[in-house]
Symmetry: C2
Subunit: 432 residues, 2 copies
């Protein structure tokens, strides 16, 4: 039996995917039954690292998604359009879809799954989160017996590389960013990565899978790493933490109806925490649930080979199902997705967390007293207040709170900002 693939895009991941499919030896035998029927590219003239018969290349992507010979369309062009329309058209024409497109799936999953369920085809997206790390299918197929409580991930390799470099070499953000751009770890316009937007796409996908509801992408609170300074990194170190950009989906206990917290922000992570040791461009996703406890998935979060490994896994999963059962009247409910209602998301003000805050203030008596009073008035209790030293004429005070309601903390900060002695609050970072 031969199963035919239509590949949209032959960039880094597309070429990696073709490379695997063209060289099945030594891999799972099922790969020998999979052939590349057509490949959609921007330009036919471009030099490529991979040799493909020229007659299967085309610039007509529509022709691929409507080609009656093709069983599975693999969308690797990225971006919102025409990716979304091509996916929907492929579904409409009865193709199964494999995509690595986190931007599309974070925004249009409900529309896409609805169409797919109607057409009785699968849409798989292992490569959209965590690169080569199996996380999407394990969440769907291996962990479904659990009541999920937390998904906490380092899901953006660029920012993890930058924070790791800042931590290990004491270098400032801007400098590491330039270096990361030179190495190809960060894009020319790094906003999606360093602003946390990419991580927010990914956590909304994982949250939807784990909690079985639709997630509105705009419900994810999102803060990037651009304001993290080497001072913060070094205070974190002294206090027993490392700073990581975490993407968090947390189910509020005893919420009725069920409510989630969805947020992406730099976080003080205790050095003993499993996520604290995830360095460089690696990703890791921690899943907590009952009765499972805590499991963690770790590996390369990006790159041609790892991401292609995930893309081909999805292709094989679909081919495995088709092989045993080409004309099923129902989809396998573990491989398909039918999120029903939108998840209720609790506002960031209702998050309970610890905060690290750094203040620059005039070196006058009573400042710490004023700070403590203002926090106390808003029910923010403090774990530690330390005057660390001076930046020029200003005293630098670092405060770590106990677990407090974020709304209360914000009110306290607002009041503190109006204090005469407080000149600046350069850093507010949540603590895991």
């Amino acid at each position: 039996m031969a199963f035919k693939i239509g590949l949209l895009g032959l960039g880094t991941v597309g070429a990696g995917t073709a490379e695997i499919l063209l060289n099945p030896e030594g891999r799972h035998p099922l790969l020998q039954d999979i052939t590349i029927e057509q490949v959609g590219v921007k330009s036919l003239d471009k030099k490529r690292s991979i040799e493909l018969p020229t007659e299967i290349l085309t610039t007509d992507l529509e022709a691929i998604v409507t080609n009656p010979d093709i069983d599975i369309v693999v969308e690797l062009i990225g971006g919102l359009e025409p990716a979304r329309s091509l996916i929907l058209k492929a579904i409409e024409h009865g193709k199964h879809v494999v995509t690595a497109n986190k931007a599309v799936m974070a925004r249009f999953a409900p529309e896409i799954y609805e169409a797919a369920n109607k057409a009785k085809v699968y849409v798989l997206l292992e490569a959209a989160v965590g690169g080569g790390i199996p996380i999407v299918e394990p969440l769907k197929q291996s962990l479904g017996a659990n009541r999920f409580e937390n998904i906490i991930g380092i899901v953006n390799g660029t920012t993890n590389y930058i924070l790791t470099q800042m931590t290990q070499n004491g270098v400032d953000f801007e400098e590491v960013l330039k270096e990361a751009q030179a190495l190809g770890y960060a894009e020319a316009d790094p906003t999606a990565d360093v602003g946390g937007l990419d991580a927010a796409d990914k956590i909304s996908i994982l949250a939807s899978l784990a909690f079985g509801g639709k997630v509105k992408r705009e419900d994810v609170y999102c803060e990037g790493i651009t304001k993290i300074t080497s001072s913060d990194i070094s205070y974190a170190e002294k206090l027993g933490f490392v700073i990581k950009l975490l993407a968090i989906a947390h189910k509020l206990p005893q919420s009725e109806p069920e409510k989630l917290q969805l947020r992406v922000h730099p976080t003080f992570v205790p050095k003993s925490h499993p996520l604290a040791n995830i360095n460089g461009v690696n990703n890791a996703i921690l899943v907590e649930g009952q009765p499972l406890g805590q499991v963690m998935f770790y590996g390369p979060g990006a790159g041609s080979g790892p991401t292609a490994s995930a893309v081909v896994a999805d292709i094989m999963n679909i081919v495995g199902v088709l092989y045993s059962n080409n004309k099923a009247e129902k989809l396998d409910p573990l491989l398909s997705c039918s999120p029903q209602n939108y998840c209720l998301v609790s506002p960031i003000e209702d998050v309970y967390t610890r905060f690290y805050t750094r203040f620059l203030c005039a070196d006058v008596p009573g400042v710490i007293g004023h700070l403590g009073m203002a926090f106390g008035e808003h029910d923010v209790s403090l774990e530690s207040v330390v005057q660390i030293g001076f930046q020029g004429e200003l005293a630098e005070i670092v405060v770590v709170t106990h677990k407090v309601r974020e709304g209360n903390f914000r009110s306290a900060i607002e009041e503190i900002q109006s204090l005469n002695a407080i000149k600046n609050i350069p850093s507010i970072i949540r603590v895991l």
Copy 2:
């Protein structure tokens, strides 16, 4: 649609499994379609933590595996017999099988898979390795695009707990073992765990999955942790290592026909290695392949809840397939297993590895010279030779070799043992 389970065994994992199936709220909706039809127990009178209608309990396990109403038999009684026969009989009667039985699957997988493929039923075993950690299904379904090179796992929680305690508290093996037995982390007869036999069962299962061949359990070289002393732990620490019991399946590069190394032994693991930080009863499995690179799966390797999570995952996987396709003529080749030939396993003498060795010798001049000569004659080159101190009248010398052929190293050690000055070689430990 309701799918009916026959549960063999209502011990720790059996009770955990029933607990999940009886309380589907907040878990994957598919669980609502699964009911427990019968439960096989040793005694009907025993007090149990879980409430089940007495009419579904039976001591007649045969009646369960032949019950025409049952779709899936879940074998959780452990041990070789009657587990093996019951699994085979269930298959013969057209039941799908879920098992947590590593001992049976490490020894009888070829027979069981052959019967299952003939009867067109699935035999899933996620819970047999790594407790709650998804590793079996990810290997089968998520990583199949890769050419596997290494599976390296900490797959036995008991020994990892003991080694962690020895490392963190400087306590000797015997003392920690007693403590672990008191806590229920080690069994009264701890041989299977501390002797490495349990880990050997598990690595033979994983190797068979990753490398697609049958594995003879007796081909796994196996050394336990009973000889590890607190001296070794403290030398490891000084040299930048921690000692872990690793289970390793390694494909020899450029071997034709393909050859594997399969081995379980205590190992010096560099502190910076991802497996070095896996502590306590936790397990972790590192998978290396091309083009993936390295991924690691981490979590609770045992316990009622985590293991039950894996058991129910397998049940759900089968139910998902049955739901969409009750009368498939072929099995999904990703969910089923059809290992063809036996894997060729290279003898331990042909392993290339580094060695840490500790010698006790008379404090006479020239000992280090004699050691160095003997190693050199057998092509064993040394990375470091350090005289650490004294134990009584004897000098303690620690040698770390470069990567050498184990056969050569063994010949050198044999020669060294015959040297007059060498009184004892208390420790030989491989280095990762």
